[in-house]
């Protein structure tokens, strides 16, 4: 079954992925039937609230969590059942950048040692000198001074640390880099620098990203494709233009209305859609549509039928029984939409 279904340009493909975690309180359905494709040289933006399963989806690509069902394919190979030994090869093909650069760097290792870890693990440097050269090269790539290799993470700023995290991800020349909210814990001014760096590196090196974020604004300018997750499912996917111009799922519309517009008159005139309540427990997701408990446009049918992703435009999919219609109704009837 290796690779038939993988398009030639697909670096990674998830098919009906489910990741469930047994807990004392019950089984957590962190990811519950997610299919997505990351194409070579592109960025797939994966957006959702905390608890939506977006990070778990990213971890599944490195097999850092065990898939309960479904398949994970990377570079045309089905890695779903790979042994621990072979997984090390997978983890050279797929690298990861973490949200908190401080926590993701070993405080006792120098910057150089952290960046060189993939080189050491996969024996990519013939000698100590070759390793140092490669580290220097990687530091150049991410815009850090070479002498920082001797420093420790606590001597660096947050932005510098995240550059180190990116350099480490680049070290093994991976096919895919999973960026797990790489700018979420950085200062606003630094966020832009890191975004520019990531974009520049992608152009220069032809990198492929899975960009995980909790708001649509972060991925807008970066992504070729966007997928919106809610409670373990993808509720809408398409190009950024499709998602922005004509969101078809009420949840996407609510997320979009939370993105501020840098134009005061427009911002004042906009309709904010504020969702009531919290994300329901992934231990016991709602019947039918998972979003119905918070959806301003929920109708009786929504409790009965579990909507599947359907094509509503070229490459634009949404999992809503009333795709498009519900969003139009929400925007027309602000009273229904807003709650305290």
């Amino acid at each position: 079954m290796t690779g038939e279904s993988v398009a030639t340009d697909a670096v990674a493909e998830l098919t009906d992925l489910a990741v469930w975690f047994p807990t004392p309180a019950g089984v957590v359905h962190a990811v519950d039937g997610v299919s997505l494709t990351v194409r070579r040289g592109e960025t797939l933006g994966l957006v959702g609230e905390s608890g939506s399963g977006k990070s778990t989806t990213g971890l599944a690509l490195l097999r850092l969590v065990e898939p309960t069902a479904g398949t994970v394919q990377v570079a045309g190979q089905d890695v779903t059942r790979w042994s621990r030994r072979r997984l090390r090869r997978l983890r050279r093909r797929v690298a990861m950048v973490f949200q908190d650069p401080q926590a993701s760097l070993d405080p006792r290792h120098t910057v150089g040692a952290s960046i060189a870890e993939p080189l050491a693990v996969h024996r990519l440097a013939a000698s100590g000198a070759a390793r140092r050269d490669r580290v220097a090269e990687l530091l150049d790539l991410v815009g850090l001074r070479r002498d920082l290799a001797e420093r420790h993470p606590h001597e660096l700023s947050g932005g510098q640390r995240q550059r180190v995290g990116i350099a480490r991800a680049l070290a093994g020349e991976p096919d895919l880099i999973v960026l797990d909210e790489p700018i979420a814990s950085l200062d606003l001014s630094v966020q832009a620098q890191i975004m520019n760096l990531l974009r520049g590196l992608q152009r220069e090196l032809g990198l492929t990203y899975l960009f995980i974020a909790h708001d649509l604004a972060a991925v807008e300018h970066m992504s070729d494709q966007v997928a919106v997750m809610y409670l373990g499912r993808i509720v809408e996917s398409g190009t950024p233009a499709q998602i922005w111009r004509e969101p078809a799922h009420p949840y996407t519309a609510a997320l979009l209305s939370a993105v501020p517009v840098a134009d005061p008159p427009v911002q004042r005139g906009r309709q904010r859609i504020i969702l009531a309540g919290d994300v329901p427990s992934p231990i016991d997701p709602p019947t039918g549509c998972r979003f119905r408990t918070r959806c301003p446009q929920a109708r009786p049918d929504c409790a009965q039928t579990d909507p599947v992703l359907v094509e509503i435009g070229s490459g634009h999919q949404a999992a809503c029984l009333f795709a498009g219609e519900a969003v139009r109704a929400m925007r027309a009837q602000p009273v229904n939409a807003s709650s305290p």
Partner: protein
């Protein structure tokens, strides 16, 4: 890890230097090590120079610690015995450290049934009184210096296993460990390169405290005749031999006893001070301050 390790240990050393108790303990330890290394050279007399003409002499300029029932110089014997104590401490704690850290690492890292099996075995060992267990092991292996060291090492293994496991449990949840897994690093590499360096502080503290207990245990075993065999001098054995003369020749028991007391006290002082200095919470607070400032 060298640079940060250096700066951490430098900070720790500076803080130790400000603690008068730690300095006192350190000075005693240095003297002890000097005695251990150069004891037979420093000793004014041979340890087995029997002289019936000067039996049981009280302390004097010629024999500052007096002489024993065979006329041997007590000072010389106390000095030379320091080597045995240090050797027992180092070897037995070395055994406990190696075994305990290995078991604790695997138990804490893999958890599950391995953790259960290993730690329940440690609990069984831990349940016995230290000396009783040591005596039992020596009884099986036969008395002597090396069996005493093995016995003491086994007895102190569980404490190292527990300290290590507790550290591993907190470190393995850190993001940097997950990041290392994500690069494809093997379990052994992660344990060696990421987990161990980050739990070094509590292990250093435990080592210095255990050295004190190990030396005390050796003294107790020797006192019971299960450790160092005569005529080789050992503090515990000298204490035992001196007990019959407590009323007539107090110096026979007093000086070896004082040596045991001072050594154990010194290791404890240094261990306690290290614990304060290397307290992981203090480290995080000071590091957090550095990062904030």
């Amino acid at each position: 890890m060298s640079g940060n390790g250096d700066s951490t240990s430098r900070r720790a050393l500076v803080a130790l230097g400000r603690d008068p108790l730690a300095v006192t303990g350190g000075v005693v330890l240095v003297l002890l090590v000097v005695a251990g290394l150069a004891g037979s050279w420093l000793a004014p007399a041979g340890i087995n120079e029997v002289d019936v003409d000067r039996m049981l002499q009280s302390p004097s300029w010629a024999h500052p610690f007096g002489t024993d029932e065979l006329g041997r110089d007590v000072l010389s014997r106390v000095l030379v015995a320091a080597r045995v104590s240090l050797q027992v401490g180092a070897v037995s704690v070395g055994i406990a450290l190696l075994a305990g850290v290995t078991l604790g690492l695997f138990a804490g890292y893999y958890q599950g049934w391995l953790d259960n099996v290993l730690m329940r075995c440690m609990d069984v060992l831990f349940a016995f009184p230290v000396l009783l267990l040591a005596v039992a092991i020596v009884a099986v292996l036969g008395p002597g210096l090396s069996t005493a060291m093995v016995a003491i090492g086994v007895v102190y293994t569980p404490i190292f296993a527990r300290v290590t496991r507790a550290g591993v449990l907190s470190v393995r949840e850190q993001v940097f460990v997950r990041a290392a897994v994500a690069t494809g690093a093997s379990d052994l590499r992660i344990m060696r390169r990421h987990v161990l360096p980050n739990i070094a502080a509590p292990l250093i503290v435990q080592t210095s405290l255990s050295l004190a207990f190990a030396i005390l245990s050796e003294a107790a075993l020797s006192f019971l005749g299960l450790g160092v065999q005569p005529p080789e001098p050992a503090w515990g054995r000298m204490l035992y031999d001196g007990r019959g003369f407590v009323t007539d020749a107090w110096w026979l028991g007093f000086f070896p006893g004082a040596a045991i007391f001072l050594t154990v006290l010194a290791f404890n002082l240094v261990g306690d001070a290290l614990r304060d200095v290397l307290d992981p919470r203090q480290l995080t607070v000071s590091e957090a301050r550095r990062n904030a400032g």
